[in-house]
């Protein structure tokens, strides 16, 4: 009897591990972002970069300033003075000031709302995207990106990272040359390591924004699961007791 429960549990656990393995190798080409939602300091730094470099064009229309303050342990004054530069109310969502028509004119397409960017593309993708801008004289905006070729966005963080140029792999005759890697032409105000961390922080913040409930659900989850396992154990004792009648 108990052996069978153990085997059921092992089966369920195995299925979960298998699924996790499938999950893990979903986008094998991209390096792991390595961000950590529990790192509140990183979330704050990420928010800071977002509100200084990104919110000019990108909205977070499902995210309220007040929620950011609550979840990141910031006061209303912190948020209203250091993050909110649009004059929106504390309870309002984060809406960029850029008129959609202008954006259409400047970039050819409206900058997307980033509320669900990490849900849609994954943290690894966002992290890689922020690391993969390079100068491209052929592009109308002067920039290009190896993760999203012909991206419509000029690189907003170039002051921080510096300017990257592509290094071409030796091409076979007849083939188009492929980019092998990017190298730093002019250093930015941050060292490459610092920039990696900054990109990770922004990614972390955007992952938080894509599902703010993630912070709560993990802290509740462990207690719920433990409670249910405890209940299962009690139910098992009860079952054994009653089934003494059955021969």
């Amino acid at each position: 009897m108990i052996k069978r429960y153990i085997s059921l549990f092992a089966l369920a656990f195995g299925l979960m591990l298998g699924a996790a393995a499938v999950i893990a190798q979903e986008s094998p080409a991209l390096p792991a972002a390595g961000n950590n939602l529990r790192d509140v300091a990183s979330l704050r730094r990420g928010a800071h970069i977002f509100f200084n470099y990104c919110v000019g064009c990108h909205s977070l229309k499902y995210m309220r300033y007040e929620r950011i303050a609550d979840d990141l342990g910031l006061t209303e004054d912190d948020v209203m003075n250091n993050l909110n530069f649009t004059g929106a109310k504390f309870g309002d969502p984060v809406i960029s000031h850029m008129p959609a028509d202008d954006a259409q004119k400047f970039f050819g397409k409206a900058p997307p709302d980033l509320s669900l960017e990490v849900s849609a593309k994954g943290a690894d993708w966002v992290f890689a995207y922020l690391n993969s801008f390079y100068l491209d004289p052929k592009s109308p905006i002067g920039w290009n990106n190896t993760v999203l070729p012909n991206a419509a966005m000029p690189f907003p963080l170039w002051e921080l990272q510096g300017v990257q140029v592509p290094v071409m792999a030796p091409a076979k005759p007849g083939d188009d040359p492929q980019i092998e890697k990017l190298s730093l032409l002019h250093p930015g105000t941050l060292t490459p390591e610092q920039y990696q961390q900054a990109a990770r922080d922004v990614t972390n913040f955007l992952e938080y924004v894509s599902e703010p409930a993630a912070l709560q659900r993990r802290s509740y989850g462990i207690w719920v699961v433990l409670f249910l396992l405890g209940f299962t154990f009690l139910a098992y004792l009860l079952k054994k007791e009653y089934w003494k009648d059955v021969h």
Binding site: K89, G91, L238
Partner: protein, 201 residues
């Protein structure tokens, strides 16, 4: 067939324990569902404090602003309206707002004029009977519903009447004075509804 003696005590104990633990689980599971009916973050954001300039409200005029979706009356009362207030006391249910209506206003508005500054009335315009919005009838002249009318509010639903401080008259269905919300003056000509003055709890 089973001949061994069943330990009824153990059985009863386990049944009770499992039921209690299961019951606790069910109750805990019900809590999020009940909580989901509370005002959402969007409703709360819409209920944030409202700031209103008083510059354009002439003496004797009323402006209605929405706070938490409720109509809030802001009235610039005339000196004669203010003079009439103490004279109504004998006709009111709770003239001092310290009886049935003791909880209808913050402490700092529990006075004759039910306000921080005498001329400015800031009040949630909801009749305390069944929740209609009373009409502002500011002129002091005989009205069909009261030949001795001294200005105030008249509820169209069930004819409750209030004076110029939102205090309810005797003999009408409404039981209490209308509610004064928390508010304070940001400066001489700006009022913020939803936030107490500094120092007042």
């Amino acid at each position: 067939m089973a001949n061994e003696v069943v330990d009824l005590g153990r059985r009863r104990f386990l049944t009770t324990t499992t039921s209690v633990v299961g019951g606790v689980g069910v109750v805990a599971a019900v809590v999020p569902f009940i909580k989901s009916w509370e005002p959402s973050a969007r409703a709360k954001a819409a209920g944030a404090p409202v700031t209103q300039s008083l510059k354009k409200i002439e003496s004797g005029q009323q402006l209605i602003v929405a706070w938490r979706s409720l109509p809030v009356f802001i009235v610039n009362r005339t000196p004669s309206q203010l003079d009439a207030l103490p004279k109504q006391d004998s006709r009111l249910v709770d003239p001092g707002s310290n009886g049935a209506s003791a909880d209808q206003q913050p402490k700092y508005a529990q006075n004759q004029t039910r306000s921080i500054k005498p001329e400015w009335l800031v009040m949630v315009g909801i009749c305390t009977h069944l929740g209609c919005v009373p009409n502002y009838v500011g002129e002091m002249k005989p009205e069909p519903f009261d030949p001795n009318w001294q200005g105030g509010y008249y509820c169209p639903c069930h004819h409750s009447r209030y004076d110029m401080a939102g205090r309810v008259y005797q003999g009408v269905p409404a039981p209490k004075n209308m509610v004064i919300p928390p508010y304070h003056f940001v400066d001489d000509t700006t009022v913020q509804i939803g936030v107490d003055p500094q120092g007042a709890a």
